[in-house]
Symmetry: C2
Subunit: 312 residues, 2 copies
């Protein structure tokens, strides 16, 4: 299948004897350079007799999420979550209904799809602050869970957690079966992704690195302690923030990294700069029928949502 | 043995049938309430037929390090590391030899043990900034590794990594054998502890939460990217910072937590505040002969290095 096309930037070793007599670990992949690079990398790093063998403890693989593991067009799923939480925020504070950017968001949700174009980054940050902070971490988790159960992607009419790219869970599983610990390293919210990462990707919360708000420890009236989500960005897990976040949460350099846009460049560089066998891969979106096509690499349309320029 | 005395604050269930016909998982522990609480907790949470069974994925146990897993008196090991790095810092910048607090540190290292009393928290922070920041994360790791190989505790004349409390690795192993994922949650430096956590405690770097500096991603002259340790405290993993750090790095509430001082109180509260079976334990240091005795709980001498007051 050609749902995603993967470019191997890492080692592209010719496979000697193909081991595909057994069950194919990557059945959805075309038998091209990308697939072969993954198989070769695993063979090279898990066979103790080979010079570039990697001890199991050091087998760390990191995956961007939006645009790499699941669909991120036309809008990041977490942005949809923020927008769709606005009515609840306005219900609690009715005066916001007449205040921008909330007024425009309500028009968008009411069916005026074009209204969204009026919102700039600054507006979205206001919506994010109003919808993502000031609640306890447990209430937030419950909100995300409830939303994911009912929200549907407007084009595909399916839950967002079903919009993963078939070939990618195959790589996750294959790497795990080969002793790799798989991590998500996302520019999206760490606490948002952690709600569904285990069920959707088989990746536990403690293996999700993402943009993270600070929290504040305090006590309820009954003396019970709880953590509140603060409007303070502790980690901006995009661009240079990705290797920084990897160092903060994982503390080891990945052996393999997968991304799809400029925001992943530094994570891939960081991975590739280590010694020994390394694998860095990029998903390029070129299938408008089964997904969305964007680049601007290879003459595909440009985008503000996860651009893949030619130089990448 | 009575090297450490452990108070069980968590569930203290009377054990029905003792399962110690097999190999004793906690051979160094007196058969008191603390030992029984651990065994009961594990039995209660790992037997699928019991009402408070905990699924394997949720089995998270967190351990403070200094004073809980290894000796922290008379001075935290990482403070010794900082002090002993001062000569190298002064060698690179000779003018510092005449500047406080470096001058006092050099006198202390020269044999004037009393000089150290003149240093206040503020001075130690200056020493920490000079010795812990401005280097690449990999150079820092190499420095810590080298230091640990040669440094010796002045009283015990042994490497610091050998000064662990025998009963505690037994609990770590026992919990891991029972499906628990063990984490260190330390007020000490995350990057410092990660250097030896795997070898010393069987805990991989990605399961160490600690006080963390920000890092900055940049490029060397040859274009190779690297991360520099910045003089910016991203996470102060003490007191309320412990549950906040646990949320940031682990993203789940622990089922069991072990500490020894006021700095661990919030971690234990946070653990205990969750639903179902929880275990919170404290190490009290009452053996001056084989270690150090301090409280001030139970009439033991007070200390500035990990106090355990009676109310804790």
């Amino acid at each position: 299948m050609k749902l995603v096309r993967v470019l191997a930037m890492g080692l592209l070793l010719a496979l000697g004897a193909r081991t595909s007599a057994q069950v194919d670990p990557l059945p959805s992949w075309n038998d091209g350079a990308a697939r072969q690079a993954i198989l070769a990398f695993v063979k090279e790093t898990t066979d103790v007799a080979r010079p570039r063998f990697v001890p199991p403890a050091e087998r760390i693989a990191t995956f961007d999420q939006d645009g790499t593991l699941w669909v991120s067009h036309p809008m990041y799923t977490q942005v949809m979550f923020c927008l769709e939480r606005v009515p609840a925020v306005v219900k609690a504070k009715p005066e916001l209904a007449q205040v921008e950017p909330f007024r425009t968001v309500l028009r968008f949700l009411g069916g005026d799809r074009a209204a969204i174009a009026k919102l700039h980054q600054k507006d979205l940050l206001k919506v994010a602050a109003a919808t993502l902070t000031g609640v306890s971490v447990e209430d937030f988790q419950a909100d995300v869970k409830r939303w994911l159960e009912t929200a549907r992607d407007p084009r595909w009419k399916r839950p967002y957690t079903e919009l993963t790219y078939l070939p990618m869970p195959e790589v996750l599983k294959y790497l795990r079966a080969s002793g790799y610990k798989t991590f998500i390293v996302t520019g999206g919210g760490q606490d948002f992704v952690r709600v569904y990462s285990e069920e959707t990707y088989g990746i536990p919360p403690e293996q999700v690195v993402g943009s993270a708000l600070g929290t504040r420890y305090g006590y309820a009236k009954d003396g019970k302690p709880f953590l509140t989500r603060e409007p303070k960005l502790l980690l901006d897990d995009n661009d240079a923030g990705k290797p920084e976040g990897i160092h903060l949460v994982i503390g080891r350099r990945p052996r393999a990294a997968f991304g799809n846009s400029t925001g992943d460049r530094q994570m891939l560089e960081h991975t590739q700069a280590g010694e020994g066998a390394r694998l860095s891969m990029l998903v390029l979106h070129d299938d408008a029928r089964r997904e969305y096509a964007y680049g601007p690499a290879q003459g595909l349309p440009g985008t503000k949502v996860g651009a893949f320029p030619q130089e990448l």
